[in-house]
């Protein structure tokens, strides 16, 4: 009996290994497809699926008010961008970036330099996931690929898509342990390499004399100088010729419910 069970278990293990070698996305595709309805239901409940009509109505009014305020601020930002482009033109430096709006509609691959951002719901997030990854609810159905970058509000870059399924995709956060990004720190744009520490934070080492302060912005040099975080602390060891800058995205990645995905032209 025990021998039969051991033999059966060995056969199953070999079968699983062979399937995984031949088709590495076979098991992830199946289990993600099974889990997706449960994640979507939970997301709907957390988003207010069980709230009363009156509560939802009040929430809607508040959101409409917030949108109106943001549209006013957006107009001011557009005016500043326009002025910026004008000044660059005067100085002989044309800007290569244009404003990218948000869209929840399906979009085909475009020949434009900047592609529209697609809103995605976060179905699963760290720390519980164990791999510092997010799972979002769009995949090949929205032309998501492994060259897609993921942002949060404020155009803050947080990660990249590493695996795509039919209607979900896995996002590796740049704060994952071992992930490295080239950055520019502070007003002086000090170049450095940041390493993910896990827990939604990065660390980078800069010269001890570098003028970096808490609250300085950090830009990602690899992807069009997008903001990637804000300096939260600086660790200085008098015996070392460098100091360690700890920074993190301005939002808590462990509480994300929505993200923005955008195809990146490499």
């Amino acid at each position: 009996m025990k021998q039969n069970i051991a033999f059966a278990a060995t056969v199953v293990v070999i079968l699983i290994v062979v399937i995984q070698v031949i088709s590495p996305r076979f098991f992830p595709g199946i289990f993600v497809a099974i889990a997706r309805p449960f994640w979507r239901t939970e997301f709907s409940i957390r988003s207010g699926g069980l709230l009363s009509a009156e509560t939802l109505e009040n929430e809607k009014e508040e959101l409409v008010r917030s949108i109106s305020e943001m549209q006013v601020k957006l107009s001011a930002t557009k005016a500043l961008e326009s002025e910026n482009a004008e000044l660059r033109a005067l100085l002989g430096r044309e800007s290569s970036q244009t404003f990218a709006g948000t869209s929840t509609a399906k979009s085909k691959n475009s020949a434009r330099a900047v592609r529209p951002m697609i809103l995605a719901a976060v179905l699963s997030r760290p720390p519980a996931s164990g791999y510092d990854q997010l799972i979002m609810d769009i995949g090949r159905d929205y032309d998501i690929s492994t060259s897609t970058l993921v942002y949060v509000q404020g155009n803050v870059l947080i990660g990249r898509v590493v695996d795509v399924f039919k209607s979900t995709s896995k996002v590796r956060l740049f704060t994952s342990p071992g992930e490295t990004v080239s950055i520019l720190v502070g007003a002086a744009h000090i170049a450095a390499t940041a390493t993910g520490r896990g827990g939604g934070t990065y660390e980078a080492q800069v010269s001890r004399e570098a003028s970096v302060m808490e609250g300085d912005f950090v830009l990602d040099e690899s992807y069009d100088n997008k903001p990637i975080g804000i300096v939260s602390s600086i660790l200085l060891d008098p015996t070392q010729p460098f100091k360690t800058v700890i920074f993190a995205p301005p939002v808590n990645v462990y509480q994300l419910r929505w993200v923005l995905a955008q195809q990146h032209n490499d």
Partner: protein, 88 residues
């Protein structure tokens, strides 16, 4: 050893819920405890495979994308070995 099938199914459902919620610590704790009390609790290895399928198995992760599966297999063997030694 417990041979209560409904209890085993209950443990399986609890493990599955923990995996869907990505509560990997809770899932493995329940699976390890269940492996001690239930005979041939292969669901422990299945939990590792499912967790990796949901959150790992990404090509550029290398072997780290299968770490839960590897841990589950090792723990399954350890629990089975210790149990057979203790219950001789």
């Amino acid at each position: 050893m417990i041979k209560n099938i409904p209890l085993r199914i209950g443990a399986d459902i609890l493990i599955l819920i923990c995996l869907l919620q990505s509560w990997w610590l809770a899932a493995f704790a329940v699976a390890i405890i269940s492996a001690w009390f239930f005979p041939y609790f292969i669901e422990l290895v299945a939990a590792g495979i499912i967790f990796d399928a949901l959150y790992g198995m990404v090509p550029d992760m290398g072997v780290w994308g299968y770490i839960s599966t590897i841990e589950a297999v090792v723990v399954f063997g350890l629990v089975a070995g210790i149990r057979s030694m203790v219950r001789k």
